[in-house]
């Protein structure tokens, strides 16, 4: 597969903060790329640098192998993390307004269908629920039939139902072979949607790759979680363990053997949980801190 975007040594410093501190990654055409990280990690800054909303202090961005120029804006669709629109316009008028700003456009009716805007198309754009508003903003981002779609935390603040609906829309867009670049701090979202992820913290990428492969790399097997209070101080066990959020985590391939050892150490089995490792666990392993802080 070709990489549609290549980012090399990208940097953006604010006075005190190294918001983006020399990152490299490439995005495959037609894939969904996820930038993961806690608040303040530098996700928004990174994608706004690529969108040319911000000017980088250093680094290069190649689009289809060439440095980006002013026509790049015609090839991308953007959904900002926070945005505002002109007021007193209906959803349809808003879409039409943006449609007129681009040389190439997708028919409004198709946008309505893709983003399921039928019910709200005549509504004032300020009188929308969180999920409806995100769908309209997605519609605006798609209005020029872009090659690359940037979504900055599109589901933050939505209830679980609305979030799942939004994921479905993204799946549909992925099926149209569009490249999607998405930031999120929901690991589950990345697991569901992304083909590739990069985990960011403090302006740096600390790990990147295919989600399943990354989990493979860091966790061979499943995670056993034992409540800390029922775990002995200095157990003589063959496996390594780590304390986290009131639980002792044990990563193991051989569940049976591990549980035998625990029973031998008189650890009660009642509170014990077995989880498949997920990106949350990966994140904790990588950064030593939980995401949702």
């Amino acid at each position: 597969m070709d990489s549609i975007l290549e980012i090399k040594n990208l940097k953006k410093y604010y006075k005190e903060v190294k918001a983006v501190d020399g990152i490299d990654f490439s995005v495959q055409a037609g894939s969904c790329f996820g930038l993961l990280g806690p608040n303040g990690a530098g996700k928004t800054t990174t994608i706004e640098l690529i969108e040319t909303i911000l000017k980088p202090d250093a680094g290069t961005i190649l689009f289809q192998g060439k440095p980006i120029d002013h026509s790049f804006k015609n090839s991308i669709g953007i959904q900002f993390q926070t945005t505002a629109l002109q007021e007193f316009l209906t959803v349809r008028e808003t879409l039409e307004l943006f449609a007129k700003l681009y040389p190439k456009k997708k028919p409004i009716d198709e946008i309505i269908a893709i983003c399921s805007l039928e019910d709200i198309i005549k509504r004032d754009n300020r009188k929308l629920s969180g999920g409806q508003r995100q769908r309209m903003l997605l519609g605006i981002a798609l209005i020029n039939d872009p090659d690359i779609l940037f979504l900055d935390e599109p589901t933050t603040g939505l209830d679980p139902q609305a979030r799942r609906n939004f994921w479905q829309l993204i799946e549909n867009i992925k099926n149209e072979k569009k490249t999607v670049i998405l930031t999120t701090h929901y690991m589950e979202e990345a697991e569901v949607l992304c083909d590739d992820i990069a985990v960011m913290d403090h302006g740096k990428i600390i790990e990147q790759g295919h989600p399943a492969l990354l989990l493979e790399k860091y966790f061979q097997g499943v995670i056993l979680k034992i409540p800390s209070e029922s775990f002995p101080k200095n157990p003589s066990v063959s496996f390594s363990f780590e304390k986290r959020n009131g639980y002792v985590h044990v990563v193991t391939r051989n569940v049976e053997k591990t549980i035998h050892e625990l029973i031998r150490e008189k650890v009660p089995i009642e509170g014990l949980k077995i989880d498949k490792p997920n990106l949350d666990d990966l994140f904790i392993t990588l950064t030593g801190s939980s995401l949702r802080t």
Binding site: I53, K73, L85, E87, E93
Partner: protein, 330 residues
């Protein structure tokens, strides 16, 4: 051009659909005009006003009559204009040995009888004519000017600052539209709105109050258009850098209120300290009001108000160029 029109239309819709805002923009000036028309309608001035210039003789008993107010003038047109507009009931120029009355003024007739009853006088009669100016005739250019000032500075300046603060500007920055296209669409939209509003305001109140109009409506429209353009540019200048609406409010108030009171909207600046008059020359609105009054009340042509036109045009250019040089999306 299509992009320009799209933004232009969106902004117009945003304005006209904001009923509350629209209502206040229209209602306040109408209320002011009718309010002042009623408040100052009766001519309950018991005194007679006589302008004097030149060396006053001691022999004239007339100068000691009760209920006559004598106001010194430099010889010249100012006093005659006042006489024409019934702001003076008589004007006497002792050096020339002439007295002037307005043949359309009943009060002038009375004062003339009084003067002639004084046997000591040896002045020659000169006459002028002209309808009296009601306060509202004088006031209406002020209200229109005030409307232009608020409508443009707030409608362009404040709105762009709001767009910048809440992210509308950033959203457009993400599209292929050029900043100059976006800004000029905002300006044209406001120009269109203000021109429409001023026309409706003037024509609507004129229908009931029949303002004095000695000049040409076209000239008046030209002056108004120039004033709108000038204030839009000023609004744009305010909007170039400021990020917060609170700061914007403060800065704009700092300019708008002095302009309200020092540009002769409500009362004439004649007789105020010279420093205030000098300050007032720096406000574009002063020049609009002055020119509009000259056209409406004195029947001036565009050539007659060329000073005001040139100053407003110069200010417009200055504001526009500075604004484009320092404008920032964020």
């Amino acid at each position: 051009m299509r992009r320009f029109l799209a933004i232009f239309n969106a902004r117009n819709l945003e304005f006209f659909r904001d009923r509350g805002n629209f209502f206040w923009n229209m209602f306040l000036p109408i209320f002011l005009i009718f309010g002042f028309a009623f408040a100052f309608s009766g001519n309950n001035d018991a005194q007679y006003k006589i302008g004097l210039s030149g060396q006053t003789p001691d022999t004239l008993e007339f100068l000691g009559f009760k209920y006559l107010q004598f106001i010194p003038y430099k010889a010249g047109d100012a006093a005659l204009d006042k006489l024409r507009h019934h702001q003076l009931d008589m004007y006497i120029d002792f050096d020339a040995g002439n007295y002037y009355v307005n043949t359309d003024s009943p009060k002038g007739y009375i004062v003339e009888r009084l003067l002639l009853s004084d046997r000591g006088q040896s002045l020659h009669r000169q006459s002028v004519s002209g309808q009296s100016i009601r306060y509202v005739d004088w006031f209406v250019p002020g209200v229109i000017g005030m409307n232009i000032m608020f409508g443009c500075i707030i409608g362009v300046g404040f709105v762009i600052i709001r767009y910048r603060k809440n992210g509308v500007l950033k959203r457009f920055k993400a599209t292929p539209i050029h900043p100059a296209e976006f800004i000029s669409a905002q300006m044209f939209s406001r120009f269109f709105i203000m021109a429409l509003m001023c026309t409706v305001l003037f024509a609507g109140t004129n229908f009931f109050l029949h303002f004095m109009m000695n000049g040409s409506y076209l000239d008046l429209a030209f002056i108004a258009a120039l004033a709108i353009l000038c204030h839009i540019s000023l609004g744009l200048l305010f909007s170039t850098r400021i990020k917060s609406q609170e700061l914007a409010g403060g800065v704009m108030n700092m300019f708008i209120w002095p302009m309200m009171f020092l540009s002769g909207i409500f009362f004439s600046l004649e007789g105020t300290p010279p420093v205030l008059q000098t300050i007032s020359r720096f406000f574009p609105i002063t020049h609009f009001i002055e020119a509009a009054r000259k056209i409406m009340l004195d029947g001036a042509t565009l050539a007659g108000v060329m000073d005001n036109i040139l100053i407003m045009a110069g200010m417009t250019l200055l504001f526009l160029i500075t604004a484009t040089l320092i404008f920032k999306w964020e």
